[in-house]
C-alpha cells in the first residue's frame, strides 16, 4: 500500500499479516485433519483440494473477480461437489473407496488445469495470479484475506467444540451412535463440511497440490505424542500453525519461493521426528524398550506377569473372577 509493491512485501507488517494467515490456515487444517486421519479419510482431503481447482477457475471466469472470497466460494462449492460425488460413487458402485477418490481427484484436477491454461492465454494481467493456487503463495495474502481465514476458521473450530462428543462418537463407533438415535449422518455432513472449509481456506497459502499434506501431517505427528483425542487435536493445531508460520517466513526469504512446499517440508520434518522419537509409539523408543527387556531377562530380574501386578488389576484384589491373569497379557510397563 505505502511505497512500491516489492518493498512492501518485506516490511514487518506484511510478514506479520502473512504469518498470521498461514498460521491460522495451519491450525485449522491441523486440528480438523485429526478426524480425517482417524477415520482413514486422508485421501478425501486430497480429493477436496484438487476438486477445488476448477471451482477457482470457474469462479473467476464467471465473475471476473480475483477477490479471495469469490475464489474461495468457488473452491468450496467445487470441493463439496467433489466430496458428494465420491460418496455417491462409493455407495452406488463397487469401486473401492481409494480408487473412487483417486479417479475423482485426477479428473477434477485435470479440468482445473485445462481451465487455468485457457485463462492464462487471456488478455488481462490479473489472471496470471490464479496459478499461485497450484503451489500457494502466502505473500499474496491481503489483510482482508487473513480476516476471512481467521473469522471463518474461528466459527469452524467453535462448531467443532460444540459438537465434540458427536464428532468423537462418529470417528470411533458410528453405528453405536445410530442405535442411540444420534443422527450420525448429520454429524458426518458437519465434520466433512468443516474439513472442506479448512482445506479451501488454505488453498491460497498452500496450494491445491500440497494442501492435503497440511491436513494429514500435523495429525500424524500429534498422534505419536498423545493418547487423548483432545490433546491430539490441540497439538496438531499447534504443529500446523507452527508449520504455517515457518513456511510463510521461509517463502518470503527468496523471490517466488512457493509457500506450500516450504510449509509441507517443515510439517514433514516434524512427522519424521515424531515417528522416530515419540515416547511409547516412536521407533527409537521401541528399540530401547526391547533392548532393556532383553538385558533384564539376561540379568534375570524380569518379574513374571502376575507377581507384582495384582494391585493394579482389581481394587479389592483376591479371587475376583474377572481379574483373570491371562486376560492382561502382562499388563504394560510403566
Amino acid at each position: 500500500m505505502d511505497g512500491g509493491f516489492i518493498p512492501a512485501l518485506f516490511t514487518d507488517h506484511t510478514l506479520r499479516v502473512v504469518g498470521l494467515g498461514a498460521g491460522a490456515v495451519g491450525a485449522l487444517a491441523g486440528s480438523l485433519g485429526c478426524f480425517a486421519l482417524l477415520r482413514r479419510q486422508s485421501l478425501l482431503g486430497d480429493a477436496v483440494s484438487h476438486a477445488a481447482l476448477p471451482g477457482i477457475a470457474l469462479a473467476f471466469l464467471l465473475t471476473g473477480s480475483r477477490a479471495t472470497p469469490v475464489l474461495v466460494l468457488g473452491a468450496a462449492v467445487a470441493g463439496w461437489l467433489g466430496t458428494l460425488l465420491v460418496m455417491a460413487v462409493i455407495r452406488h458402485s463397487r469401486i473401492p473407496e481409494d480408487s473412487a477418490l483417486g479417479i475423482l481427484l485426477s479428473v477434477f484436477f485435470g479440468v482445473g488445469l485445462v481451465l487455468l491454461t485457457f485463462l492464462q492465454r487471456g488478455p488481462t494481467a490479473a489472471q496470471a495470479g490464479l496459478d499461485t493456487f497450484l503451489f500457494g503463495q502466502a505473500a499474496t495474502l491481503l489483510v482482508q484475506d487473513v480476516i476471512l481465514v481467521l473469522s471463518v476458521g474461528t466459527v469452524a473450530l467453535l462448531l467443532l467444540a460444540l459438537s465434540w462428543k458427536e464428532v468423537k462418537l462418529l470417528s470411533f463407533d458410528r453405528e453405536f451412535g445410530r442405535v442411540q438415535g444420534i443422527e450420525m449422518g448429520r454429524v458426518d455432513v458437519l465434520l466433512t463440511s468443516l474439513l472442506v472449509v479448512a482445506i479451501v481456506l488454505g488453498l491460497q497459502t498452500v496450494g491445491v497440490v500440497l494442501m492435503s499434506a497440511l491436513v494429514v501431517a500435523p495429525a500424524a505427528a500429534a498422534r505419536q505424542w498423545t493418547d487423548s483425542l483432545g490433546r491430539m487435536v490441540v497439538l496438531a493445531g499447534a504443529l500446523g500453525a507452527g508449520a504455517g508460520v515457518g513456511g510463510a517466513w521461509v517463502s518470503t526469504l527468496g523471490d517466488g519461493i512457493p509457500t506450500g512446499p516450504a510449509i509441507v517440508l517443515l510439517a514433514s520434518t516434524v512427522v519424521a521426528v515424531s515417528i522416530l522419537a515419540a515416547p511409547r509409539r516412536g521407533i527409537l523408543w521401541d528399540r530401547i524398550r526391547r533392548r532393556r527387556v532383553h538385558s533384564r531377562i539376561r540379568r534375570g530380574d524380569l518379574v513374571p506377569p502376575g507377581a507384582g501386578q495384582t494391585a493394579a488389576q482389581a481394587p479389592s484384589g483376591g479371587s475376583i473372577p474377572m481379574a483373570s491373569p491371562g486376560a492382561h497379557g502382562g499388563g504394560r510397563e510403566d
Partner: protein, 292 residues
C-alpha cells in the same frame, strides 16, 4: 401376542434398579413382548440373508441366537436395530417402533467393529453410552461420570478407567463394551457375540451380568456361538439358518432334531469356531432332552 411369560423375571426391579435417566415411571406393560419380528427379510444384492423371520421374545428373558456361519445371526440383530435396511417386515420393541424406544435399547457390537488404537480412554468409551440421552451440544457431567463409575465397577474394570484402550486385552475390551451398554440403562439389550475371544473367567462374569439384567426384568438377546453353553447360560434360544428354524424356551426347542435342521445334519458340538472348551459338567444333550 405371545402370552408366554416368565413369572420370576417380571418381578419389580427392587432397590437395585438404580436407573439414573431411564427412570421406572415409564415401565412398559409386562405383557407386551420385548421383541416382535414379523416377516423380516433382508437381502444383500438380491441374495437373501434372512428370509421371512417371525419372532416373539417376552420381557425378562435371556435369549441366544444360534446358527451356522452365514445364518444371518448378526444381520438379524442389525436389522432389528435399523443398521441394515430391511427388504420387508416389521419390528416392534416393547410394543413400539424402534424410533420411539431407542432409549430403552442397548447394543454391544462385535469387538472387532472399532479401531482399538483410537486415542481415547476406557472411561471415555463407556461415557459414550450416555450420549443418547444427553442430546447434541450437552456435555456429560457429574451424573454421567458417576453412572460410568458404577458400570465399570459392575464389570470389574474400575482399575482400568484411565487406561488407553489399545492397552486392553480382548476380554477387557469386551467388558468395556458391556459397561458402555449398561450405562445406557436400557430394558432390551442386544449383544453380538459377547463371548468372542474372551477367557473362561471373563465369560463367567459376563454371564453373571446378563443374568442380573434378566433377573431385574430386562430382556437380553445375544448372538452366541458355542452350542455347549446354551442351556447353561440362556433360557430361550432362536435357531436360525437364513430362515427361522425354531424359537422358544431352551428346554423345548434346543433339541437334536432342531439343531440338525439348523446345521444341515451335522451338529458341530465339538467344532464351535470361537469359543473355549465347554465346562465338563454339562453335556448339552442331557439338558436339551428334558422336555422331550
Amino acid at each position: 401376542m405371545s402370552d408366554e411369560m416368565r413369572s420370576s423375571g417380571v418381578a419389580q426391579t427392587g432397590p437395585s434398579s438404580g436407573r439414573t435417566w431411564n427412570v421406572d415411571g415409564d415401565a412398559p406393560d409386562p405383557a407386551v413382548p420385548a421383541l416382535e419380528v414379523d416377516d423380516l427379510t433382508v437381502a444383500y444384492r438380491e441374495q437373501p440373508v434372512l428370509w421371512d423371520v417371525d419372532l416373539r421374545i417376552p420381557q425378562g428373558s435371556l435369549t441366544a441366537i444360534v446358527g451356522p456361519n452365514g445364518a444371518g445371526k448378526t444381520t438379524l440383530i442389525r436389522a432389528i436395530l435399523g443398521l441394515v435396511p430391511r427388504a420387508a417386515g416389521r419390528v416392534r420393541i416393547l410394543g413400539s417402533v424402534l424410533e420411539e424406544v431407542r432409549r430403552q435399547v442397548a447394543y454391544v457390537p462385535q469387538r472387532g467393529s472399532v479401531d482399538w488404537d483410537f486415542p481415547t480412554s476406557v472411561e471415555d468409551v463407556v461415557l459414550m453410552g450416555t450420549y443418547g440421552h444427553l442430546g447434541w451440544f450437552r456435555r456429560p457431567g457429574q451424573r454421567e461420570r458417576e453412572a460410568v463409575g458404577r458400570a465399570l465397577e459392575r464389570v470389574e474394570m474400575t482399575a482400568f478407567a484411565r487406561r488407553q484402550i489399545s492397552e486392553l486385552s480382548g476380554g477387557q475390551q469386551q467388558r468395556v463394551f458391556l459397561a458402555r451398554a449398561l450405562v445406557q440403562e436400557a430394558r432390551v439389550h442386544f449383544l453380538d457375540e459377547p463371548f468372542q475371544g474372551v477367557d473362561a473367567r471373563t465369560e463367567q462374569s459376563i454371564v453373571e451380568v446378563l443374568h442380573e439384567l434378566r433377573d431385574r426384568g430386562d430382556t437380553v438377546v445375544a448372538v452366541h456361538h458355542s452350542l455347549q453353553t446354551v442351556p447353561d447360560y440362556f433360557d430361550r434360544v432362536v435357531l436360525l439358518n437364513v430362515r427361522l428354524i425354531a424359537a422358544g424356551p431352551v428346554t423345548s426347542v434346543f433339541t437334536d432334531d432342531n439343531l440338525r435342521t439348523a446345521y444341515g445334519g451335522r451338529i458341530p458340538y465339538l467344532s464351535p469356531t470361537s469359543s473355549p472348551p465347554p465346562p465338563p459338567s454339562s453335556p448339552p444333550d442331557s439338558r436339551s432332552r428334558v422336555e422331550g
